[in-house]
Structure formats: structure tokens, C-alpha cells
Symmetry: C2
Subunit: 230 residues, 2 copies
DNA sequence: TGCTTAAAATGAATCACATTCATTCTTTTG
DNA sequence: CAAAAGAATGAATGTGATTCATTTTAAGCA
């Protein structure tokens, strides 16, 4: 018995450099599997193969551990998306790409979505932290495209970019929420198209305009016919 | 001393009928003041003037107490809004009314907003409960108006009502969220108008259509002039 | 009105966790 | 190699929800 213990004790301590990564990765697993409240520090420590106290050497609190888990996951995504954006032509297409890409991200990892959504709320009455900034990052990218579109004339300039962002972001979030809750699959392409159509052209029937145009054309034709009875 | 105690003991127990109401009302106060996590059962009991254990005679858990607080608050609102809706003409106006009214509700009580928003998440992996239904109630009302509008021809019928709902609902939610977080006042009228404009007409520039029309009219005028050189 | 029993209320005890900290191991340094 | 510094440990602490044996009140009945 003692032998075993000694053997364990003599095993070299794992490289410190990876200690944080191990903790974050374990936390991710545990949080995704059990949620934030039910995912205990005890369990995270067990999965990481370390003592509970050790976690507190690297993280202020359970919540800041959650923060890091979420941050790592989404930072990658945002960096990548921003890179892709550069090669897409026109604000319209870039906006549509942002919508589509976000939906794909949502579908990719339901567990992380739940955490992220929760996280936003827990952050409540604290200083404007990383969290805040991160949540705003997508909104910023969208707002940027909307403003570009306004400048180059492809979008109306009498709308509020931030409200338009809210509408897109909100639609994505509710779609996410519904997916997280029910687990019912989402068709990313179709949903992108729906959101885009509405944002792009609104929901009002074009009938009125079209009718007027049709009438105008009809009349013009009559006139032309009369002028030019060839 | 004994006298005092005896006197207290002899005081008639408050009518049971109101016991639940007292608890819920105390919980509302405490939760709104301190938030859900920091609002302790101990404190709620103190405010209600009863023992902690008593609360558990009426409520399963702290969370179900929160549920009841939120439910009571919003059921009133929904009932009222639904009544008002009946006297408004046209789906467009009713939809706009729903947006406006929701914004007013948000502004009315920041504390409750925070609770409701939190509540949605906590409910996570549980049975489809009251909560769910309640959250869907506003969406249902909106979807109903959108469908009506499609039928009577005032809205395009090639959009998805649920996505449009998500967009409106999402915009409201993010507005709410931003308000809850920052406390920065919102202009309900202006915000309503912005959301409505975008939903109604989209963000695309009407320039193309307008230009064609203008050209058409110009040409028609020329023709007319030639026909009728007075 | 007094007696008996069921229902309600109580609050001290329990339990589940996050967080702390005195102690024990490891590594580094001189 | 010894001493000092840095890490890791896990038992102890603190907080707060939840339980439950006991006490108090209300209701039914003579």
C-alpha cells in the first residue's frame, strides 16, 4: 500500500504551463454535462485530477472559471469569423454571412450555448468585464456592416443600426434559446434566409406599389400605342 | 416577559387564505431588492413575519417561489394587453401596439425584468412548465397578428411568422437587457417606431424602385405634353 | 365550554457547496 | 545539499437552502 502511495508521490508534477488549460478543459466538460449550478468544483477538480484548492490558485471563483471557459470558446469563433469576413463582397453579403455563421455555431454546440446564455445574466451587476465586450463583439460586426451599407446606399439611412442589430441578434438568440430548450434541429440555411428576407425587405406587401406600377405601365402602353399606330 | 409572550401566542393566526399571498409579496420585494441569488429565504421569511419552514409548506423550493412571483406579475399584464387589443383596428396597428406596450412594461419595473430574464434560464432542463407557456404568450399574440395581416393582404405571405416574432421579440429582449444592465432610459415611442419601421419596410434602400418610378413619370409627362400641346 | 385530533407553523439541525488556509510537498537557488 | 519560494492539498469554515421532530393553533364534537 505504502509502495503505491510513494510511487504516486514520486511521479513528476505535471507541467505547470498546462495546469490552467487542464482546469479550463475539465470545467468545460463538467459545466456542459451538468450545467453551471450543478457542476461542482469538487467534480471539476476530480476530472482534472487535482485538489479543489488548486483551482482557487488559478481562478478567483467558480464564476470566473465559467467566464474563462466561455471566453476561450467564443474568442476563437470571433477571430475566425472576422477573418472570413474580409473576403466577402458588399455589406449585404457580409451581414447575411454573419447571420448564417452564427446559426452554425449555435448548432455546433448546444452545451456551450446554454452556458453562454446563462453567463450573460450572471454577469449582472458587475463591472463591464470581458463578458460584456465579448457579447458586444458580434453586435459590433453587424453594426459595422449596416453602417457601411447605409453609406454606400444599399441600405436606407433612416433606420437605427443598433435596433437592426437587436432585431437580428434577438432573432438569433431566440432561435438559439428554442434550440437549447427543445433540442429540435434548426435548418440554418432556411432560417438565415427568413431572417435576411425580413430584414432586407420588411414584411409589408408590395402589392400597392406593384399595382400602381402595373397601372402606370398599362396606361403608358395605351398612350404609346396611340402615338405610334404604325 | 411571560406576559408578552403569552399575549403574542394568543394573537389569532392571520387568515390562512392570505398566507400564500403574503409570502409571494414578500418574495417579490426581496427578490427585486436583492436579486434571486442574494435574496435569501431567511430574509423573505423575516419580511413575511413567519418562519422559514412555513414557506416550504407552500412552495416546493426557492425557485418555484420565484416562478410564482414572476407568473403573477406578468399574467396581469398579459390579460390586460389582450383586452386592449380587441379595440384596435388592423393587424399592423395591433402589432405596433404590442411592441409599444411591451416596452412600457419593461420601463415600468426594472427589478421584475431582471427576475423574469433570469427565470427563463433557470428553468432550463425542466418540464415544459407554466414558465414556458407564459413566455410563449406574447409570441402567440404577435404571431396571431402577423398571420392575420398575411390573410388580409397587408403583409407578405412569403415570410415566416415565427421568425418575424423572433425578430420583434428579440429586439425587445435586447433592449430590455440593455436597460436592465445599464439603467439607461429608453424612449419607448422612438424605439417602437424604429422596430416597426424595420419590420414593416426592411432596411433596403427604396432608391431603385423610386428611381424607376421617377423616370417613368418623367417620360409619361413628355408623352402627355406631346399629345396635348394645348 | 372543555377535550381530541388534524392541520399549520416553528426553528434548530442537516446538507450541499463554494471558498479559505494551515500544512505538506516540489522545485529552485545559492 | 540545505534553505527558501512556490504549488498543491484537503480538512475546516461559512453560507444558505431544505428537512423534520416538536409545538401551537384550529376544527370538530360532546
Amino acid at each position: 500500500m505504502t509502495l503505491t502511495i510513494v510511487a504516486l508521490k514520486d511521479a513528476p508534477r505535471p507541467p505547470k504551463k498546462h495546469r490552467v488549460d487542464t482546469i479550463v478543459e475539465s470545467a468545460r466538460k463538467v459545466f456542459c454535462a451538468s450545467g453551471f449550478e450543478k457542476g461542482s468544483i469538487e467534480n471539476i477538480a476530480k476530472v482534472a485530477g487535482i485538489a479543489e484548492g488548486t483551482i482557487y490558485r488559478y481562478f478567483e471563483s467558480k464564476r470566473s472559471l465559467l467566464e474563462e471557459v466561455v471566453r476561450r470558446h467564443y474568442d476563437l469563433f470571433f477571430d475566425d469569423i472576422q477573418k472570413s469576413l474580409a473576403s466577402i463582397e458588399s455589406p449585404s453579403n457580409r451581414l447575411r454571412y454573419l447571420i448564417h455563421r452564427t446559426l452554425l455555431l449555435i448548432l455546433e454546440d448546444r452545451g456551450m450555448c446554454r452556458l453562454r446564455t446563462l453567463y450573460r445574466l450572471l454577469e449582472n451587476n458587475e463591472l463591464p468585464s470581458l463578458a460584456r465586450n465579448q457579447n458586444l463583439r458580434m453586435a459590433d460586426m453587424m453594426a459595422h456592416e449596416i453602417k457601411s451599407g447605409m453609406k454606400d446606399g444599399s441600405f436606407r439611412s433612416d433606420t437605427s443600426p443598433s435596433i437592426v442589430c437587436y432585431m437580428i441578434g434577438g432573432a438569433l438568440e431566440l432561435t438559439e434559446f428554442s434550440y437549447v430548450q427543445t433540442g429540435t434541429a434548426i435548418d440554418a440555411d432556411e432560417t438565415t434566409e427568413s431572417i435576411w428576407q425580413t430584414i432586407h425587405g420588411g414584411i409589408s406587401s408590395k402589392d400597392a406599389t406593384e399595382e400602381s406600377l402595373a397601372r402606370l405601365i398599362e396606361r403608358l402602353t395605351q398612350v404609346t400605342d396611340r402615338l405610334d399606330p404604325a
